[in-house]
Symmetry: C2
Subunit: 475 residues, 2 copies
Amino acid sequence: MRARPVQQESLRSRILDRISDFAASTPARFAVIVFASLIGIFTILFSLPVATTSGERAPFVDALFTAVSVICVTGLSTVDMATYWSPLGHVFVFVGVEIGGIGVLTVASILGLVISRRLGLRQKLLAAGDANPLRIRKGPVSESQAVRLGETRSLLATVAISVLVIEAVVAALLFPRMLLEGVPPLDAAWQSVYIAAMSFTNTGFLPTSEGLIPYGSDWWFLIVLMLSVAFGAIGFPVIYVLRKTWRHPLRWSLHVKLTLVTFGLLTLGGAIAYFILEFDNPATMAGLGADQRILQSFFISQMARSGGFATLDMGSLDGSSLLVTDMLMFIGGGSASTAGGIKVTTLAILFLAAFAEARGVDDMEAYRRRIPQDVLRLAVSVVLWGATTVAVATVAILLITDDVPIDYILFDVISAFATCGLSTGFTAATSDGAQYVLAATMFLGRIGTVTLAAALAASTRRQLFRRPEERPIVG
Amino acid sequence: MRARPVQQESLRSRILDRISDFAASTPARFAVIVFASLIGIFTILFSLPVATTSGERAPFVDALFTAVSVICVTGLSTVDMATYWSPLGHVFVFVGVEIGGIGVLTVASILGLVISRRLGLRQKLLAAGDANPLRIRKGPVSESQAVRLGETRSLLATVAISVLVIEAVVAALLFPRMLLEGVPPLDAAWQSVYIAAMSFTNTGFLPTSEGLIPYGSDWWFLIVLMLSVAFGAIGFPVIYVLRKTWRHPLRWSLHVKLTLVTFGLLTLGGAIAYFILEFDNPATMAGLGADQRILQSFFISQMARSGGFATLDMGSLDGSSLLVTDMLMFIGGGSASTAGGIKVTTLAILFLAAFAEARGVDDMEAYRRRIPQDVLRLAVSVVLWGATTVAVATVAILLITDDVPIDYILFDVISAFATCGLSTGFTAATSDGAQYVLAATMFLGRIGTVTLAAALAASTRRQLFRRPEERPIVG
Ligand SMILES: [K+]
Ligand SMILES: [K+]
């Protein structure tokens, strides 16, 4: 009687250990397999006839695209999300974005944990003369594994609680506003929960066909949305630190300070740009008062950085605003967040490097801290990955598409890469081929960027000797 | 009788010393002042009524734009260059591109010389405990100054001889082909010299209104043009090494190998892209045979990287080809060359950094040499400068321009920044305001990039202490 529970415990523990082991030894491959499987499962779910309003099986391209868009929390769509899917379909969407949003958040955090420990271990063990500490573990249940499992669990718990609390607060803030608008209480209840999930996970789907139209100029509704999106987009590591030490800014880590300052500057800069560039545009802001201009400018600026909600028609924006939006989307939000893009710290590192170069000092510095040189190399790799993905996807779509202005295509490709979800209308209107390319771009942008950074940061190889130095001319 | 020549010699020597001193102490400011003055002088020359065919004073915007385009060897124009300017005007253009082409080449080489010596000195003197060796020189004619002047002269001589020899050979190769076409000998003589100068300096102006139409499918003419452009575009440091050691590739420096390989790969990759993307385009290659498709693909590919000659109408290219051209133009040619852009070695460094990151090794390596980390920082700074310049110029032009597709504007802005000179027709057709922005973009792209890299590489500051290290999350 005593033997069985122990055996079961040890079996369960062994399976968890095995998974944890695989995740630790090849974290990037682990993340890619997990997300590809999730997309497969949700493609099957969205292919069920009961998932659609019409009761007919959704075409494969729409089922796959919706699954990718949901799991990657992108918010682009090839169908009218509000009317195409049945109530059951909407449940799939809701569950999918929570899994996708929290999943990436958690996987990114776990990868960060694994890597930071690996780096820590490496630094300790390198001194003792060993290059790869994780490959030389011996025995079935070493102490380090137990610790890893424990840490992962507590991390998961913290992530889940943060998500639940924030989404509940957001829903509670939206609910009374919807009642005021005359929405029946039961509808208002599920719509507010749905929108809370769509905003915190930075997805951007809306539950009704009319979208944000009833609330398009409402300060309360739009500011709650912006705050919810911002909390999701600054990233879990920042939320974690803020929750513990929000009263003591001096104790914040370099990552928190860099993220918050860059995030804020980009939101402000974007808002100023939209305010100026759309001032005379009759299709957007020309008819608005000064207060609404300010609100709408901040709203687009915040939503471009991966929220994906829109009160204005993106296709009506001035060409210059589209270009500004392209840049904001490409940069995206914070690391290990529900937002996409190359991430604000990546951009900050590039500029810190340029500042250090301009000042002629050897070290990149910020907030009285020195940033190691290899971080710059990681940042350059992430940007190159993003630029290459966007360029290849754009050229591929241009090849199979005729008569669409390139700025519309580029906009939707960057929106897909950065999982932003804003659209000029191109995604819904284009051919199946281009939609497959966009789906691949979403996957590469969301899963690729997170795992690439992790894989690169984690991989280390022992160099046995150094080559002689030589300096090519640059610039 | 003996005293005067000595005094004169010493006065001349003192003036040269003073200039050389200024150039050495603030090389970037020196270069900017020299080129701004040249542009001022040529704006005045192009404003002379005798410079135009009509005998009327050219509008200020056209005189300034032409002066900038000529001195920056860009090749963009707001007027029909072949018919608008009188024979005297054409002489100004010819002299201007030689000064601009050789000037930048020389200034860049001199700056490189100054900087490499300064770096060398710094490294020596830093050990002796001194941060800025050039500020502590004592006495009116120190030995180091004499050496600097001597080196500069020999460098200038080598540059001038290379330019003369290459342009003479190119003219000699074009001349008989023009006679065959039925061009009168005297016209063929000056036209071949003119085209030789326009191709080696990577400018891209043509002496007649019909441009390349008579030679648009001629293997001999186009290949000579491509080789001439390539020699100008690989850069003087490479020509210098090749001239001395072309038989011994093993002795080539890292810079030469990196430049040649990246340059070749980009030309080949671009040609393959145009071959595929323009295959079905009835406005460009759909009607051509396989051999002409290959020739034309290589020609566009080479000319996009700063040559600026065109056999096909850029406005008729497919949107995907325009995007590929944008990328090729932005990258440009070799360092210290007559080509523009961020330079091929800058791109190579970014990719070498990403490769090193992916392999998990600490050092960037190429051809059995280790590349110092600060080169990456310089490369990142140059790319950020380029991207920021292009973005600001494009948004500025979009703000003051209506009803022009953004891809045409972006194309001409990048063409201006990278001093490529290809145009979709936007530059000639747009407003004065946009033309001033394009002129500023040419100046920032040509002079800015060269001097920025030099200024950054030269500036060094002593760090008295190192901050504690902290690692933000990236990607
Ligand atoms: K989104
Ligand atoms: K040119």
